[in-house]
């Protein structure tokens, strides 16, 4: 308060010594106002050249969209897998010598293990009935003199990850009464491996895209700096630092990143809607009501924040490099 008053008193008087440390006399609110003005100025400059700004915005959006779609589809695949994973089953085919009573007992023993969620015994005759019912070959089967099917224990592991299921299968194989252990979720594991591959591709693509964005935004900023070379020169002549001169360009980069991110989330909505109408037909054939989900609020925010971060950082690197090269 005192300092302000003193400055007011001699505002019109020339004075030799004064502190010229930047930012010292401006309050936080003033700084926010200043930045808001620079941001508005950067935005209005983008609007002055709507066509080229829009092209850059679309390039940024499409670049963000590609890995985002891949991650999105993969998370859909993962959730689809999760639905099936609860039904992961391991079937123990028992030796022919094991009686029904022994089979029941083994099944009950297995239930006490905490890595097994559920287990039930299927006797050879039950198995034959089920097979007959599901295959429609009952008549044929009644003519058979001996039952070729072994007794079996069907169990659901409590941990359905492929590592845990494999380990469980390995342990159960050691039981003397067990003939063959069959994991019914092998196809599930294959699908999970594919899902992992897709997400690995997504990560590589994301890295490539970020590098590409650095190039696109950096080049756009470079052109903008070329166009405002005279202005930067004047700013430097009256004592503006490189960082001061870079500020408007940082906002330009930030706006490209933000706008590109928002556009990318809108585009993915359109893409998913297109997929869903086709998927619905397919899924109806499979009697499923599965639908592709959008990115969700968090993922959308993540895309926008990622875009803004890349835009700002690319602008920072480009502008400091090119502004440093401009000298009176």
């Amino acid at each position: 308060m005192n300092a302000t008053k003193r400055r007011n008193d001699n505002a019109n008087q020339p004075r030799v010594k004064r502190n010229t440390r930047a930012g010292q006399s401006a309050s936080f609110v003033d700084l926010v106002k200043l930045h808001r003005r620079i941001a508005r100025d950067s935005a209005s400059r983008l609007l002055q050249t709507p066509a080229s700004s829009l092209v850059t915005l679309f390039v940024v959006a499409v670049a963000l969209l590609l890995p985002a779609l891949l991650f999105g589809l993969n998370s859909n695949l993962a959730s689809l897998l999760a639905g099936f994973q609860n039904s992961a089953q391991v079937t123990l085919y028992l030796q022919d010598s094991v009686s029904e009573a022994d089979g029941e007992e083994i099944s009950n023993d297995l239930l006490t293990r905490n890595d097994i969620e559920n287990a039930y015994y299927v006797s050879p005759s039950q198995a034959l009935d089920e097979f007959g019912a599901s295959s429609g070959l009952e008549d044929l089967l009644t003519e058979m003199t001996a039952n070729p099917l072994p007794g079996a224990i069907v169990l659901t592991p409590s941990d359905v990850s492929s590592v845990a299921v494999d380990e469980l299968a390995r342990q159960l194989q050691k039981l003397s009464q067990v003939d063959v252990v069959q994991i019914d979720s092998l196809w599930l594991q294959r699908l999970a491996a594919i899902s992992n591959l897709v997400s690995a591709i997504g990560r590589v693509l994301a890295v490539i895209v970020i590098l590409g964005l650095f190039f696109v935004v950096g080049n756009t900023i470079k052109l903008a700096i070329e166009n405002r070379k005279a202005e930067i020169l004047v700013i430097k002549l009256v004592g503006g630092s490189d960082m001061y001169a870079a500020r408007p360009f940082l906002y330009t980069g930030l706006l490209y990143g933000l706008g590109g991110g928002v556009l990318a989330t809108l585009l993915q909505g359109i893409v998913l809607a297109t997929f869903n109408s086709n998927l619905e037909v397919l899924m109806r054939l499979y009697e499923s009501d599965f639908q592709l989900r959008g990115f969700g609020l968090m993922s959308s925010l993540l895309i926008i924040v990622a875009g803004a971060t890349v835009g700002w950082t690319a602008a920072l690197m480009a502008s400091l490099r090119h502004i440093r090269a401009i000298n009176p």
Partner: protein, 225 residues
């Protein structure tokens, strides 16, 4: 305040723009630099602004050794110097007000404080009614006065001026010199490159005469009668 000690400036092509210049200008001193075009006046001002660095000799301005300065030091150094450029160096997409406010914005002044200083500076050069105009709408003389307002708005400790009255009529020239003298009276060090012989004669200031990059004469003001 400004001290040249055997300073020479040679360009890459071997041409010597300044050779072995030594002089000192102290606080509150008003000195003209004069000489034909090509005598080295602009080079001398460029050295003080750290636009160029001396090839040899030592140059200290405002306590800063200009032989060795970092980029950030240069920016800080220039904030202490008000410069009137021969070609004005105004921003053509900003209003007169914003042009004059630029040094204050760079230093991070409060908007209210800055507004008062900008209006005071514009008032001094008689352009208060043009604060919303853009430089392109102004005459050469008016643009020059905007440049002068921008040079003094930050109340620098050194004012450099390259032909500040080149586009001004005698009455306005006298007005500008009066502003400069006001700053001189509060201890600002002024170095003005000019070849307006009549003006220099009338103001009776110290005059440094350059010729072909050499210091030809360093005339002290005549004793007042």
């Amino acid at each position: 305040m400004i001290k040249f000690d055997n300073v020479s400036k040679r360009y890459a092509d071997g041409q010597e723009a300044l050779s072995d210049i030594s002089f000192e200008v102290s606080r509150g001193e008003f000195a003209f630099i004069t000489g034909h075009s090509g005598a080295g006046k602009s080079t001398l001002l460029n050295l003080i602004l750290a636009i160029q660095t001396p090839s040899s000799g030592q140059l200290i301005a405002n306590g800063v050794n200009l032989n060795r300065v970092s980029t950030s030091q240069i920016a800080r150094h220039r904030r202490q110097i008000g410069t009137v450029f021969q070609n004005h160096q105004l921003l053509h997409d900003r209003s007169v007000y914003d042009n004059v406010a630029l040094p204050l914005e760079i230093c991070g002044y409060q908007p209210n404080d800055a507004a008062r200083r900008v209006r005071a500076a514009l008032d001094k050069v008689g352009l208060l009614n043009k604060e919303k105009s853009f430089p392109d709408a102004l005459s050469g003389g008016e643009q020059q006065r905007v440049g002068i307002a921008r040079a003094v708005v930050n109340r620098p400790s050194i004012i450099l001026a390259d032909e500040p009255t080149g586009n001004l009529d005698p009455a306005l020239s006298a007005e500008v010199m009066k502003i400069f003298q006001q700053f001189q009276s509060v201890g600002v060090c002024l170095l003005v490159a000019s070849h307006d012989a009549a003006l220099i004669e009338r103001l009776n200031c110290r005059t440094i005469v350059l010729e072909g990059g050499k210091l030809l004469a360093d005339q002290k003001p005549r004793p007042q009668a």
